[in-house]
């Protein structure tokens, strides 16, 4: 038993922290979030050079061949910096879907370019019904000569406006179960009939889009993996994203805690630092408990997935359920303890608060994951 990070992982953390401290200041974050691109080409090449984009792709596919426990380290640091841009969309959604479902040829075609920072991707799976299980996939893909026609609408698609390739989940038949009959397709951004519109979401560092498919015709080769059998791959992508977001939440919450403690030591009322009052001190202590427990469950989930443990699904849902609640509690407490200044645009807390909210509800909120925990416990 050794529930800690390896020397390599600590090195990865140090390197990431140093890089982000200088290249991704909150000034940078504020500048980038005000633009459509969300980041700069230089920044994107720099993270590609460091191997971040292909961290979970195999070496054959141009990646580093590392696991979720390594990604967790990176995500904690990205969360700490509220790193803007389509990292989640490209590496952990679109890229991960191609890794999980793609044939060797498809992986070879896309993943090395994603890892190199030359191609951006995303995953369009969530629909207006906002469900995270297989029954949420209702959009139709009609089989027709030499290919498929996609019609319908996808919502909450991260950074679709920046993606060169969109992986789309659609229903190709009414199977015996909800899981049966889901297929994945690779759709290029310039496909005829494809429309992408930004949704006015609160977290501008990671933009959400509506993607409309108006009889979008794609060839047979656009099918990613096996026909009707896309769900298990998609489920693995969801679980990976849930763990990654949990880790990102931990990193952001850790930073909010630090900012709050720092402030509580300096800010005085009635002649004493507010951190000396138990009303403030105890709230800070509770924030620490939230952050540390969220880390524990996230680390366990990452390990359980990497090691293909029988309780991996349970571990993932435990992590995301706890982290989602912690995300809300810690960012709210951070603002409460800062008082009025925490409510202002000029203070950085709102960057964390908005990301925390976005991550709290993405890929299953606490209630959704608790229900999955209950089903697994009661089985």
């Amino acid at each position: 038993m050794d529930i800690g990070f390896s020397e390599e992982q600590e090195l990865l953390r140090d390197t990431a922290r140093k890089f982000l401290d200088s290249a991704c200041t909150t000034k940078f974050v504020r500048e980038r979030m005000a633009t459509q691109e969300g980041m700069t080409p230089e920044f994107w090449s720099q993270i590609a050079e460091q191997g971040w984009l292909g961290i979970n792709f195999s070496e054959d596919d141009g990646g580093s061949g590392l696991g979720l426990t390594d990604l967790v380290v990176l995500m904690e640091e990205m969360g700490r910096a509220v790193m803007p841009g389509p990292y989640l969309a490209t590496a952990l959604l679109g890229g991960a879907a191609i890794r999980e479902a793609g044939s060797a040829a498809q992986r070879q075609e896309y993943l090395p370019r994603i890892a190199a920072g030359e191609l951006r991707a995303t995953l369009a799976s969530t629909e207006p019904n906002a469900r995270w299980d297989a029954s949420g996939i209702t959009m139709n893909a009609q089989s027709m000569r030499g290919g498929f026609t996609l019609s319908g609408s996808k919502l909450f698609v991260p950074d679709a406006h920046l993606a060169d390739t969109i992986v789309v989940a659609a229903r190709t038949r009414d199977g015996s179960t909800m899981e049966d009959g889901v297929s994945l397709f690779l759709v290029p951004k310039d496909a005829a009939g494809l429309g992408v519109a930004l949704m006015p979401s609160i977290d501008e560092t990671r933009k959400l889009c509506e993607v409309r498919f108006d009889n979008v015709a794609v060839p047979q080769t656009a099918l990613l993996g096996e026909l009707h059998e896309g769900w298990p791959s998609l489920a693995r992508v969801y679980d990976g994203a849930a763990v990654a977001l949990s880790a990102e939440i931990c990193g952001g919450a850790q930073r909010v805690l630090e900012m709050t403690v720092e402030y509580a030591k300096l800010r005085e009322t009635f002649g004493k630092p507010i951190g000396s009052y138990q009303g403030v001190k105890h709230k800070c202590a509770d924030m620490l408990v939230e952050v540390e427990n969220a880390k524990s469950l996230t680390y366990y989930a990452a390990w359980a997935v990497d090691e293909k443990q029988p309780d991996a699904k349970l571990a993932v849902s435990m992590a995301k359920a706890y982290a989602s609640d912690a995300s809300r509690k810690v960012s709210n407490a951070g603002i409460q303890l800062h008082g009025g200044i925490g409510m202002t645009w000029e203070h950085d807390l709102h960057l964390y608060m908005k990301r925390a909210k976005a991550s709290e509800v993405a890929f299953g909120d606490a209630t959704w994951h608790r229900e999955r925990v209950a089903s697994l416990l009661g089985a």
């Binding site: 390896s6 426990t69 004493k272 403030v280 540390e292 524990s296 571990a315 209630t367």
Partner: protein, 396 residues
Amino acid sequence: MDFADAPEHAEFRREFRSWLDANLTDDLKVEDASDSRVAPDRETLEKRIAWQKKMYAAGWVGISWPKEYGGRGASFIQQVIFDEEYFRAHAPILPGASAIGLLGPTLIQLGTEEQKKRHLQAILAGDERWCQGFSEPGAGGDLASLRTRAIDKGDHFVVNGQKVWTSGAHFADWCFLLVRTDPEAPKHHGITYLLVDMKTPGITVRPLVLLNGHRHFNEVFFEDVVVPKENVVGKINEGWKVAITTLMFERGGAGGRDHAAQIARLVELAKQFPNRQEPSWDQTHVRQMLAQLAIEAQALKVTRLRGLTRRLRGEAPGPEGSILKLFGSELAQRIADASSTLLGPYATIEGATEAVPDSGRWAHRVMGARQYAIAGGTSEIQRNIIGERVLGLPKG
């Protein structure tokens, strides 16, 4: 990152588990060992003493003590595995537990040769039971302000004062006692650590029965109690250092209660129990509540393991250790409270009922759980400690 046992540790776990399977009889088992640290009656005590002797004969008592003192010189990780398996098997806490875990290791480090010879083997063998005379009516969280007075009479001390919350004093043969020997000195200086024979004239043990009827704690009164000087551990007036050593062993205790088993039982109950017409388990709020408890129990478990890892790696303690007591005791309360939500009126029945055979157990837990967030430093104190020592916030 590796949550699995290394092969040699897995082997140790197997060895101890199979010994427990073969030797621990059902009449000794307890639902949750933490709920009956002290035997409820003399008969149970005698059974548990016999159990300790059986364990001792097989070399399973005080395994982390050095071999020369009768232990196995077990490593920290072996002690952790031992505790996990012991709780898992529903074995009872040994009558000698406080001496095995706290006093013995203190004497090994700081006791005289005479004291070691006199007590160590008797502690392991189950021949001596000890109680811890630390807390006083005016000295709980702020232990160093204790006022039980010992006057130096040349070759002995005369002790007067009162201790409180003394677990198992009514079964104890000896007491490790903190007394004030120099009232003029600053409060951390002027304390002395004594070993006191409970048969000494002038000692009165009065039960402090808890609201659930449990006889666990006592008040202990000292009236002109004579304690020979050879029973001082460490130096006179420097007992605080010795007390800190004892307290370090207390905090180092690695065992955790088996919350997951409690929650699994509640899930079973929820499936069977037709609360409000449909099985509780079909109700969203019940599923959400029990899932949340299971999540918190797992969080606590992994947070504990992260703290252990730091210790195994020889790193400075992280924030994990300090949150275990706070979160663990409050989680235990939430689990108890969940049983009330689940069981409705059965939650108030102190005995077995047809519909809920273990209703009595949950009723007792609901009442007894209040103490978890008080004993060993209240949750409020724990939050102060986290705020000040871990986060570095200023004292109030």
